[in-house]
Symmetry: C2
Subunit: 578 residues, 2 copies
């Protein structure tokens, strides 16, 4: 990032957002951190978008440096409820300020960011509460049930599905401030119990320092590192069924969770905490994916893993084409040689961009690729690293090398993987600097079986590319013997939130029609909800509704379309052939 | 088994059971196969039971060689329904004969066998149907719903929880005859789709021979080998959440299932078939464990694994005591070096018996154990084997060896493991020869976290041993980083079914009170049902009932207490501290 441009450089916004500004809410994470494209990437985008330097001479969207003031949006809540909450929790845990309400109203899909830049203020909560103890959450839920007050939860706020949005107003629980404590650490069972608002870095820090922190014999890791790691919460991971970038080894959060505790309108619900059991339907797997519609997740017990970065083997390879690369990836997943931790295969268009983003274009590797017949826009980049015990980790890396070579893969050393690691959590910052100039980037992902991979990749990309002047990159990650997650990332000039939404809809339609699962790990929220019943099937979806009716017959938990439970029939989409 | 006794040998029944006899129903599996204890084991039992040769001079329970004739138990079904079923399926798929009805009325808990030996005929179906196609099952379900006819399913019949028993009469679907076809094999995704009545050996045979059978590139295995393997069905595995003896590597059936199809009173239900997804509650995990109470499982898609027996490493070790052995087992599970396929650790009392059963007492190993300080009734036998790719399998075995040695384990070579393998599927035959003389053997198992392992082992065994003259052996199998399955096997002189049931109840009470899950992989059925709501919790159990009410509001699917759904309040047990 540090290299100065040789030609024209746009005025990337590098100064921190003021603490009370819109920008401080919608921009990613650390207010001091900035990321912007290097010159070759900027030139690539200009070419693709058919834009000139002149188009980057001024900001094309509101940069949001103004102070949050919402005179037209006063809280609607009856004073007696406000008073009740203040008595219940104390004044410090209650806020009705404009800033606090807006700061929990949106997630992180481009639709959210664009609306905020357009100062479209909608779906604010009337009050924000900052509970600190499980019992406080239980009291809040009981009070809301008694008084029919809609109840929302804001964990880390990185939802890309409008999961946190307070469609019906009411209460939002902001879990960031007081609800991130470690409740128990059990080294014998290798588990940690935390409050649902625990953030990724705090959890990982506690585990890495388990020896001093808990008097443990060794250091541990949570194994769950989504791109949103730094600004997401354990609770959010769990209720949306998230996955981290290391899930191929550590599993998705649905594999890592051992037990959960919820405050529901029906009372406290605790799932069991055994590694496996045969005692009826699996309640843990019922509650995960409920996205706040059955109750508020208060406590989570997670499995933890030994922290052994010294055993890590980094690798990267380049394959001649997507088909061969997919075959190699599948063989790596099905060989039963163990699984690598990060496992990431880019398609040709993504490879084209990644080689610039990871600075490979500046190294002697770049011309070598052409010489050896790995052609631009055909070649596919594959990278990752292994984890686990020394011999296990080594065996996985050895087998990956063997399979890659057998499929004509050329080793690129661990350099490319290290470049990827540097950017793995801060790519979202790039999104903000680009959006100042009216360039939007967002992602969709889906779960696909191997036998349908080529079709889904082809058909979804076709729809993404139907919008001209668009970069569409795709990669495979979160891999399994039976299939993988496909990620679609698009970058395109766009300034209107509704235009974004229409485009987003065409892609979700395409995913549904192509025979993929509409979400591998982003959840459903309110944005993907219209597709859910059609995807799951009508009779099948009835089960979700039956559970909802049991837990929350008055529909006060995350109401307004979340996972489609209170969606009107006319707003649903039935596109899947069954 | 072949060695002749030196002293008195009881007249073990070695001749086959007549095809129309009670014995042909209640005895295990192959009518020609016989297994009986060798002399040292017989002597051990006599000592423990304080019995003499005279007690084995005559059979102490009915041997069941008489023909099944049930004049007092005619079918109760209205002729119009019988006619309707005959028209729907054809005469060959319908039976009301005494033998056919009795043959699907009981499972394989000692309570079932003892009742049959006592000729206690109860809970017979009024008609047995043998559907061959999914659509036939769907029609049967629809007809039963319309006419309020109770509907039961008999898969392989190895239930030890009274899961198949037709408490309310009505229809039983015997899936053994016509419902075991392969519907699809997908080598790209490594999956196989079968009808729910598919038997273990048939499935494994198809997969081992995938090259000739499906034109596949290689041979596969199902990875699921419960002790009941030869006489259980895929459907039974799935609806009860079974586990095979190789689950430590391959996973429980709940990990192996990719998707399921059910015929429910609400219509056809198909779960999705993606390796992971974030689309609301996990329907696959809701249907598994329903044990026929939500609908009839018709089709299952299973993940399959590469068949690579050439990579297998067999091992066995002996540890000085249970505590050290548990520590070693936990370290093996938590080291992240991969997992062995079979992983089986016997406690001192089981070790005492196993060394005889596996003939180690006849080898030079036996005196060596004593010499090196591995004392009888303190030492613990640990055995298993690894699977997977060559390097993976080797690395697991290497780490197990390293950890075993570090914990003072003495290697016993692969011999003991091979002996175990020989008996792994035919130990149930021993049960029948013993029961002729009034010796009952049965098992209970439970899921336990490591930190509670010692307590559960101690407290449950105490209750098992409260019955004098009882051999109680315990082993750990199906292991995980967070805990393991504990198996309790008891052998005791007993001839009355109700006495058995009272004893069985005291053990289930003890499991519940000790803080273990009441079933790791046997399911709940009707026998364990009184404990389920207390175990899961009242609010939590309400979820199961809500799903039941959605699928089967008239309670015609496996009615009579299965998983407690239609159990009266007075019949439930609430023993768990929450």
């Amino acid at each position: 990032m540090a290299k100065p441009y040789k030609g024209f450089e746009p005025k990337w916004i590098k100064n921190a957002a003021p603490a009370d500004s819109y920008r401080s809410i919608f921009r990613w994470g650390d207010p001091e951190f900035v990321k912007y494209p290097k010159e070759s990437l900027f030139n690539l985008m200009k070419d693709t978008f058919e834009m000139s330097d002149a188009d980057f001479a001024q900001y094309n969207m509101d940069t949001g440096f103004d102070k949050v003031e919402l005179p037209d949006n006063p809280p609607q809540m009856d004073e007696k409820h406000v008073k009740a909450f203040r008595e219940m929790l104390g004044d410090a845990k209650v806020s009705q300020s404009d800033y606090d309400r807006l700061s929990v109203a949106y997630g992180q899909t481009a639709y959210d960011l664009m609306r905020m830049r357009q100062h479209r203020i909608e779906n604010l909560p009337d009050i924000v509460l900052y509970p600190g103890e499980t019992e406080e959450v239980e009291k809040i839920v009981a009070y809301c049930v008694e008084n029919s007050i809609p109840l929302y939860v804001y964990g880390g706020g990185s939802s890309v599905t409008r999961g946190v949005e307070c469609i019906k107003g009411g209460v939002s629980l902001d879990m960031r401030r007081n609800f991130g404590k470690v409740l128990n650490f059990n080294e014998i069972d290798q588990t940690i119990t935390v409050q649902a608002g625990m953030s990724g870095p705090k959890l990982e820090e506690a585990l890495n320092n388990a020896k001093t922190r808990f008097g443990a014999k060794r250091a541990y890791t949570c194994g769950h590192f989504p791109q949103s790691f730094e600004y997401s919460s354990v609770g959010g991971w769990v209720v949306t069924r998230g996955s981290g970038q290391n899930s191929t080894y550590y599993g998705c959060i649905s594999d890592i969770v051992l037990s959960q505790k919820y405050a529901t309108p029906q009372g406290v619900v605790e799932t069991s905490h055994y590694p496996r059991e045969a005692t009826g339907p699996n309640l843990n797997q019922i509650m995960m994916g409920s996205e706040g519609t059955f109750g508020v997740l208060t406590e989570v017990t997670l499995k933890v893993f030994r922290y052994m970065p010294e055993n890590r083997h980094r690798f990267s390879y380049i394959f001649k084409d997507w088909e061969t690369a997919m075959d190699a990836a599948r063989e790596m997943m099905q060989k039963e040689c163990g699984y690598s931790s990060v496992f990431r295969l880019s398609d040709p268009e993504e490879t084209n961009m990644m080689l610039r983003l990871y600075n490979v274009d500046d190294t002697p590797l770049a011309p070598m690729l052409d010489v050896f017949g790995y052609k631009d826009m055909e070649r596919c980049l594959f990278l990752g690293f292994t984890d686990g015990e020394k011999g296990y980790s080594k065996n996985v890396a050895k087998n990956i090398a063997k399979i890659a070579l057998k499929h004509g893969g050329m080793p690129l050393t661990g350099y490319v993987c290290k470049s990827w690691e540097k950017g793995r959590f801060n790519d979202p910052y790039l999104r903000d600097t680009l959006m100042d100039f009216g360039i939007v980037t967002d992602t969709l992902e889906c779960s696909v079986n191997w036998s349908n991979m080529e079709k889904v990749h082809r058909e979804v990309r076709k729809v993404c590319h139907a919008l001209p002047h668009t970069v569409v990159t795709t990669h495979m990650s979160h891999c399994y013997p039976q299939g993988a997650n496909l990620y679609f990332i698009f970058i395109t000039p766009m300034t209107d939130a509704e235009e974004f939404r229409r485009y987003h809809t065409t892609i979700l339609d395409a995913i549904q029609k192509s025979g993929a699962a509409i979400s591998h790990h982003h959840g459903i929220g309110k944005m993907f909800a219209p597709w859910l019943e059609g995807y799951v099937g009508k009779t099948e979806y009835g089960v979700f509704r039956a559970i909802k009716d049991y837990f929350d017959p008055d529909y006060i938990m995350n109401p307004g379309g979340t996972i489609g439970l209170d969606l009107e029939e006319k707003d649903k989409k039935f596109l899947k052939e069954k």
